[in-house]
Each structure stands twice: as structure tokens, then as C-alpha cells.
């Protein structure tokens, strides 16, 4: 029965243009972000560039050295007699005669460096041989010295990734809770204003109707969140050169859990608010008080980016009205103590059935009251039917 209602919510909502557009934007946006990140950071991943090096005179001795595969350049070696002629027919990019790197005009800095390094290394091997050193000794000789880096302002490359992930989780939670909460309000008002609710209630209790609606729209909201999270995760995996901190990965399950619980928490309130008005025009203003704590949670999170241990942020992560926005933010940004995460999740989880019960009672009593807005206090006080 509940599933029949949920299915109708899903089918009707998924058919609307706004749903398709929002999902498409999420999907394309996330793909675009992933691609952008991989191009910016993924230079090492590119295929080696194909170049042709012309060797003249004594330069020919270095043919073997150039034949060693290189990450950056895939060099084809040809022997030439005249550099000018070879440049003229476009068959080479650079020429080398054993002592001079010859360009047609301006040099190509990275290719120039490659030619010089290759020749130098080849010379090193030669000289080492002359001094009786084996190639292994040479490797030891040139083994790089590992140097530590210290930044006095405490910044880390990782921190950028953490901030980005924290922001994405908060914004995504805010936008999706607000959007889907408001769909729920509109759906309730639609049923109330069209009076279809009376036919519905003749078949099913108000409780089942509410549960079905929350379930249906919740699954769609979770679907969009899943698209977003998997897209971001993909982008993070494509990140090169910067290691993604564990905290960011830890934030993924926390985000999904707080989103599901947060949706349960807010959905019932949004539905209850919808049941107190009889016209779509009134729905907007009725929703405002519900939206407020969502934005407060978001504001607290954003204000605490540079100070993830602030008391305000810590408190907000325990309050169920703000924790869906704040908890995944904290986990992604800094590593809060495990007990704090556990307690925050527990408080949210316990508050969901309480809110469902409370908001469900308002929903039941207000559903059949037509006309002016039902004052919330009156809805709470009066007996519940159905």
C-alpha cells in the first residue's frame, strides 16, 4: 500500500521537466568537474609527445642515448646532412651536431632541456666508465636527496581537497533537502487543495499516505545525491599528484547517512507545513520557517572553514536541525573525534521518529481543514483523526 503511493510519487515526479533538468545538471556538472580536475592535475598522464631529432656529424654518436624511452618525448632519430634542408622540408623538430642544439628559430624549452639532459647523462656514463665506475655506482652517485618541506602557515595541499569536499557536501545537502522538502510541501498542498486527499483517506490512513510520499520523494532525492557523490568520488580518484586524505573518504558514508536521516527529519516537517495551508500561493511563505534552520546550518559550516574546531560548529553538529549540513562538513574538513560523530548520528537518528510522530499528528489534523491557514499550535492541540 505504502509502496503504491511511493511509486506514484516517483513516477509523477520523475516525469516532470524540473526533475529531468535538475538531474541532468547534476550529472553533467559532476562529469565536467571530474574532467576539469583530471586535465588540470593529470599532466603526467598524457602520452609522450612525438618529436623528430635530426643528428648531424658527431651528434650521431648520441643516437643510442636518444633511443632510451622517455615519459615526455617519444623521439624518432634520423641522421641528416644539412640542418637547414631538414627544417625546410619539415622533417625534424630540432637538430644536434654533438656540441650545438640547432633550432630553426625559437627554441622549444622542454625539448631543449630533454636534448641537453640526454646528452649530459650520456656523457656522465662515459666519464664514469673512464673512472672505473659501474652504472650501478653511478645511480647511487646521483640518487636524489629527499628534502622535507615546511610551510610556516601550516597549509597543506590536502587541505584544499578537504575544503572542497566539505563545501560540496554542505551545499549538496542544503540544496537537495530544500528542493525535495519543497516538492513534498507542494505535493501535500496539491492533494489538499484538489480535495483528492478525502478519497485517499477513505482507502488508507494518513500515516501511510505520509510515509509513502516521504519514501517516494526520498528515494528520488537519494538518487540525485548518489549521482553527485559518485561523480565527486570519480573526480577525486582522477586527482593526480595530491593524495586524497582519508577524512574525505570517511565523509562519504557519513554524508549519505546524515542525508537519509536529515531527509526523514525535514520531510515530515515540510509535509506538516504543507498540510496547514490550502492554496499553493501560501505554501511558499509557510515553508520559510522550515528553511531557516537549513540555512543556519549551512552558514555555520561555511563560516567555520578556517576554524573547523570552533565551538559553534561542534554544537551545530549535534543539533538535528543543523547536523545534516554540519556533520559531513566537519568529517571532510577535519577529523572530529569518533565519539562526536557517533553521538551526533545517534541524536539525529533518535530525533527522526520523534519528528515523524509530531509532524505526522499535525499533518493528520490539518489535512481536512480547508480555508484559512491552520495555526500550528491549534493543529498540535486539537485531537488527531485518522
Amino acid at each position: 500500500m505504502i509502496w503504491t503511493i511511493a511509486k506514484r510519487e516517483i513516477v509523477t515526479r520523475a516525469r516532470t521537466t524540473s526533475f529531468k533538468v535538475l538531474t541532468a545538471i547534476l550529472f553533467l556538472g559532476v562529469i565536467a568537474a571530474a574532467v576539469a580536475i583530471s586535465t588540470i592535475t593529470g599532466g603526467d598522464d598524457e602520452a609522450a609527445e612525438e618529436v623528430t631529432i635530426g643528428l648531424i656529424g658527431e651528434g650521431v654518436e648520441y643516437a643510442d642515448a636518444f633511443a632510451v624511452p622517455n615519459e615526455q618525448f617519444d623521439a624518432e632519430i634520423i641522421t641528416i646532412d644539412n640542418a637547414q634542408a631538414a627544417f625546410d622540408d619539415g622533417s625534424i623538430d630540432v637538430a644536434f651536431d654533438g656540441s650545438t642544439v640547432i633550432w630553426e628559430g625559437f627554441s622549444w624549452p622542454s625539448l631543449d632541456a630533454y636534448v641537453r639532459t640526454t646528452v649530459t647523462q650520456s656523457e656522465f656514463v662515459e666519464r664514469a666508465n673512464d673512472q672505473g665506475l659501474a652504472p650501478t655506482d653511478l645511480a647511487e652517485l646521483f640518487a636524489p636527496v629527499e628534502l622535507e618541506e615546511e610551510r610556516l602557515d601550516g597549509s597543506e595541499d590536502e587541505q584544499g581537497v578537504r575544503i572542497a569536499a566539505a563545501m560540496v557536501s554542505t551545499v549538496a545537502t542544503l540544496v537537495l533537502l530544500q528542493t525535495w522538502g519543497s516538492f513534498l510541501t507542494m505535493g501535500v498542498v496539491e492533494e489538499k487543495s484538489s480535495r483528492v486527499v478525502e478519497v485517499l483517506l477513505s482507502h488508507i490512513p494518513a500515516r501511510s499516505l505520509l510515509t509513502g510520499k516521504i519514501l517516494g520523494l526520498g528515494l528520488l532525492a537519494l538518487f540525485q545525491m548518489a549521482i553527485l557523490v559518485s561523480g565527486v568520488a570519480l573526480a577525486l580518484l582522477l586527482l593526480q599528484g595530491i593524495e586524497v586524505p582519508d577524512g574525505v573518504w570517511n565523509a562519504v558514508p557519513i554524508l549519505l547517512i546524515t542525508f537519509v536521516l536529515g531527509f526523514g527529519f525535514y520531510a515530515a516537517i515540510f509535509a506538516a507545513v504543507g498540510s496547514t495551508v490550502s492554496r499553493q500561493e501560501d505554501a511558499q511563505s509557510a515553508q520559510l520557517p522550515v528553511m531557516l534552520p537549513l540555512f543556519v546550518g549551512y552558514g555555520i559550516a561555511i563560516a567555520s572553514i578556517s576554524n573547523p574546531d570552533s565551538i559553534l560548529l561542534r554544537i551545530a553538529s549535534f543539533v538535528p536541525f543543523t547536523s545534516p549540513m554540519v556533520l559531513p562538513f566537519r568529517v571532510a574538513l577535519a577529523d572530529p573525534p569518533l565519539w562526536e560523530i557517533a553521538v551526533a548520528l545517534l541524536v539525529l537518528a533518535v530525533s527522526v521518529p520523534l519528528v515523524l510522530r509530531f509532524a505526522g499528528a499535525i499533518y493528520r489534523t490539518s489535512l481536512l481543514k480547508v480555508g484559512t491557514r491552520v495555526p500550528i499550535l491549534e493543529a498540535i492541540r486539537s485531537r488527531s483523526d485518522g
Binding site: 500500500m1 503504491t4 503511493i5 506514484r8 509523477t12 496539491e190 492533494e191 484538489s194 480535495r195 483528492v196 486527499v197 478525502e198 478519497v199 485517499l200 483517506l201 477513505s202 482507502h203 488508507i204 490512513p205 481536512l368 481543514k369 480547508v370 480555508g371 485531537r383 483523526d385 485518522g386
Partner: protein
Amino acid sequence: MAGGLAVTDLKRSFGDLRAVDGVDLHVPPGELIGFLGANGAGKTTTMRMILGILQPDTGEITWNGTPVDAEVRNRIGYMPQERGLYARMKVHEQVTYFGRLAGLESAVASERASYWIERLGLEERRDDLVQELSGGNQQRVQLAVSLVHDPELLVLDEPFAGLDPIAADTMREIVRERAADGAGVLLSSHQLNVVEGMCDRVVIVSEGREVAAGRPIDLRAAAPTRRMEVTWSEDVGHWRPIDGTVIEFTGTSAVVELPAQSDMSEQIGHAVAAGEVSMLSVEPPSLADIFADTITSAEVETAEVSE
């Protein structure tokens, strides 16, 4: 206790307002019961309690002797006074959906929806959105919604309100047919004349309380007056009845209200003696006439209570 729906001493208040104050109803299978009264008399509240949409303060609602529960409610077809459909849902999809909510399997719901859509002449609109339909066609969809699960009891709140004459005829025909198939029908109306002819029994309520109940013919027979209409072929001058009130007199015709206990053969003889009679009838007053006072006095208290 006989089969069907039985409502005993039902009461429900909203704050200080006693919307329903001790209503009894019995709807046996195959019978058409008219639930009549002015707006605000408590009809809708009573029906909502039968459907479980509102909880009664006291009283009992049983089906074949056992209290009405969710399972029984799935065998009731309900048409609310305020028609309610999803505007942006297609006709067939919508009727099927309500069939599913009433507990039908998907395939059965779809098949029954198709049957009723065709039966109500909506087959060409089955894939149109409800909001694209005319008011009359939306009423037909509403009726299909209340019939899709082949209910054993129909609860129709003001089914004729807002219907065009053709739709009203279809409605009457289908309601009678369902009753002939053994379904009990409870239909409410504030227009007594619209339904008195089709109901097996009526229950008339005012201000939440029953004022009369019985077969229309018995209720009319119990009225204290009779209505006599006479037309003569010639001018009869200044004719007056033996007793009773003259409502209209033109010289060649008369409408008079007579005491029910007066000797009718004497009354008729008196009219015939005045001149050559071309038409004469003596009838009890219609329900609408009998209860006009009840209905109008309550009507002042205006529309629906905040329910």
C-alpha cells in the same frame, strides 16, 4: 442485526458545535438509502466517519455485524462532496491508481478502470490529463474512481450536485444498477426532490439529529395535509373547498391543501358538483414540501462546518 452497514447513535463535535448528534442509519444490501438534510446538517461528517476519515466521539459503525475496519473500507466506494482528483494525472492511470489503493492487483485494477471508463463514455479521453476534461467528464472520472473496485457499499455525498442532466441520468442509472446487483447505496442530498423518487428509504437530518426516517411513501402518507388539484371545463365562479386552504384559484382551476383526515370522497364530490371536471388529483405533499421548513431553517446556518 441484518446485513449491510449499520450506524448506531453516532456523535461527533467540533469544539462547541455538535455536528452529528446521535444519527442512526441502516443500509442493507441492494437498497438505496437517501440521507437528506440541509447543508451543515451533519451528512458529510457522518459519511466521513463511515469512511474512517474522521473518528466518532461515540457510536458504532458496523458492517454485517462487525466493526468497520480498513479491510471493510476497501469494499466501500466513496464519492466526496468536494470532488477530488489529481489534476495532472491521466484518466486511466488515475482510476487504476485508486483501484490499487483499494487493494486490487495491478492487472485487475487496470482492467476494471478500462471497463468503467468505457462504461461512462470516456474511452476517448483515457490518456488525457484530468485537468483537460470538462467539469461533467471530471465528475464521471470521480464516479469511476468510486466504482473501480466493485464496492459492496456506495457512499455518495451529493452525487447530483453540479451534474448536467445527461450526467445525472447516467449517475441514476448506474446507482440503480449497482443496487440491483446487491450493493447498498447511501446517497446524501440537500435537494429532496432530486432523490426522493429513487430512494427505497430516506433518513432526514437537521442539526446533526434525525428528524424523520422511513419509506418516502410512508413519510408522505404521514403528512397532515393532502394536495388536491382540480381543473374544470367551465368557469365555476367562486368555488371553495369544504375545508382546507386555497393555494391558487383561477375560476377554472384550483390548488388546495386539505387536512389529511378529511373525507376525500366528500371533498372530490364537492369539486365535481361545481361543474364538469377535466382533471382531478389528490396526493400527499412531496418530501421537499413536508420538510421545506426543516431544510430552510437550517440552511441559514450556512455552508460546511470546519471539518
